[in-house]
Amino acid sequence: MSRDPVIVGVADVPLHERGRAMPGTTILGMQRDCALEALGEAGLALSDVDGLCVAGFWGMAESPAPGAMATLQMAEYLGLHDLKYLDNTNTGGSAFVVHAGHAAEMIRAGICDTVLILYGSLQKSESSRKLGGRRALYTQQFERVAGLPTPVGGYAMAAQRHMAEFGTTRETLAEIAVSTRAWAAMNDNAAFRDPMTVDDVLGAPGICDPLGRFDCCLITDGGGAVVMTTAERAKDLKTKPINVLGHGECTSHYCINYMPDMARLDVARESSTRAYAMAGRTAADMDLAMIYDSFTITVLLSLEAIGLCKPGEGKDFVAGGRIGPGGEFPVNTNGGGLSYCHPGMYGIFTIIEATRQLRGDAGERQQDGLVHAVCHGTGGVLASGATLVLSNDKG
C-alpha cells in the first residue's frame, strides 16, 4: 500500500508571444526550471530524484541528435549521478504517458522512490519543424515519394475514412476545435485565446482535406515536468498526491498506410482497456478526459476508443459544446495542443493538467467534484496509444 505510485509535482514552461519561450532559454535550461518548480511545490529537491524519464527530438539537424540520448544529457546537466531507473522510451507524443506507467511500476517494485519525467522543445523559436528534406527510407519511402505530408496527411486519411464509415462531418471536427479554444481562454499560458466559431474553423485554409488550419495543433515551444513518488513518501510532502491507479500502452503500426482500421483507434481501445482493468474502474467512472489533440480527428477517434462513447457516436459526444466550458463532460481543459501549446510531443501536458484539476489547482477553469481523470496520449501517426487513470481518492 505504501509504495502505491502518486504524482506529487507538476510544472509547465511559461510561454509568451503566441507560444514562444523566453528569449535565451535553452532546451536543457527550460527542463531544469520545470524540474525545480515541480519538485519544489512538493517540497522535494533534485537530490531526492533516483529515476529519470526524458524524450525529445532536440537538435534534429545534427546526427545523432542530442535528444536521441536525452536521459544521459539531462542526467549530466542536472547533476544526477546515481539514478536507479532511466527511461528514454520514445513513442512520439504519447511517450510521457508511457513513462508515467513505467515509472509507476518501478516505484511500486521498489527499484526507485522518486521519478522525474521531463520534456522540453524550442521548435517554434528555432523554426526547426520542417516537412521537406526528409529521407524516403524504410516503410516511409512510399509515402515520401507519393507526396503525403506527415503527420497531417495521415490524420487526414483517418478522418476521411471515419467520415465515409460513420457520416462524420467537418462541423463535428470543428466543434472540438471550438470547445478547446474556449478552454484556452481560461489558461493564461495558452498561445491562442481569442474566441473561435465553427464557421471560423470551416473557413480556414485547407491543409490536407478534410483537415483545415484550425483542425491542426499549434507549432509552439514548451515543456513540462511531472514528479512521481510513493504514497508513503507523499504523506510528508506539501502537495495533495494524485494516485496513478492504472496505466496501459499499445502500438499497431508506424506508417499510416499500415494502420489496421483507420476509422477505429485500436491502440487506444487496447491501452485504455488495460488501464481501466488495472485501476478497477470503467470509462463511466471518469469525470475528466485529457486527450492528446494533435488534430481534431485525434480527439474524436480517442473518445470513441477509450470508451467514453461508442465508435461512430463521437459526433453526439462533442456536439453543442458538450466538451467545452459549462458542458456535460470536460475534455482538454488546458486548451490542448490545438490552442494552448504543441511543442511536438504534447503528451506530458495531459498529465500536468489532469493533476492540477484533480488537486483543485486549475484556477479559473477548475471543474468541481472531480474524482477520476483519464489521460490518453497518441504517438506517431495514430501509431501508439498510452492511457493513465488518475484519481484524487484511493477508493
Binding site: G132, A146, S252, M262
Partner: protein, 135 residues
Amino acid sequence: MTYEGPRPENDLDSAPFWEGANDGKLMIQRCGKTGQSFLYSRGLTKDIDETSVEWVASSGKGEIYSFTICRVPSDPFFADQVPYAVGSVTLEEGARVLGRLITDDLDAIAVGQQVEVDFDRLDDDLAVPVFRITG
C-alpha cells in the same frame, strides 16, 4: 532529365517493388502459406510464414480505402503540384498501397471508388505507381 524530388532509398525489402515499377509492374509480396498479400510492412497481416514469402505482380486493380487532398506540399519539390490527391488503395489481392490519385476532378474522389495502377516515369531510373480512378 533528372528528377530531383524525394527518391526512394532502395533496400533489400523494397528493391523488387521499385524494379517492378520501372518495368511497369506493381509488385507486392505474398505469403505462400496463408496467401495473404502485403507490401514491405507486415502491418496488415498475421501468421506470415517468412520462408514462403514471394514477390508477385498485382493486377493493379483495387479500391480507394481512404485519401486526402493535399493543399500543402509534403516537400518543397511538390509545391507547384498542389492541390494533389494521395490515396491508400486496397488492391484486389488484399495488400494496401499508397500512391497519387490521378483524376480531372479532385472534388469527386470518394472512398470505395475503383482504381487501376499506372506509372509516372520521373527519370530513366525511377517510375512511381499512381492510381487512375476507373469507376
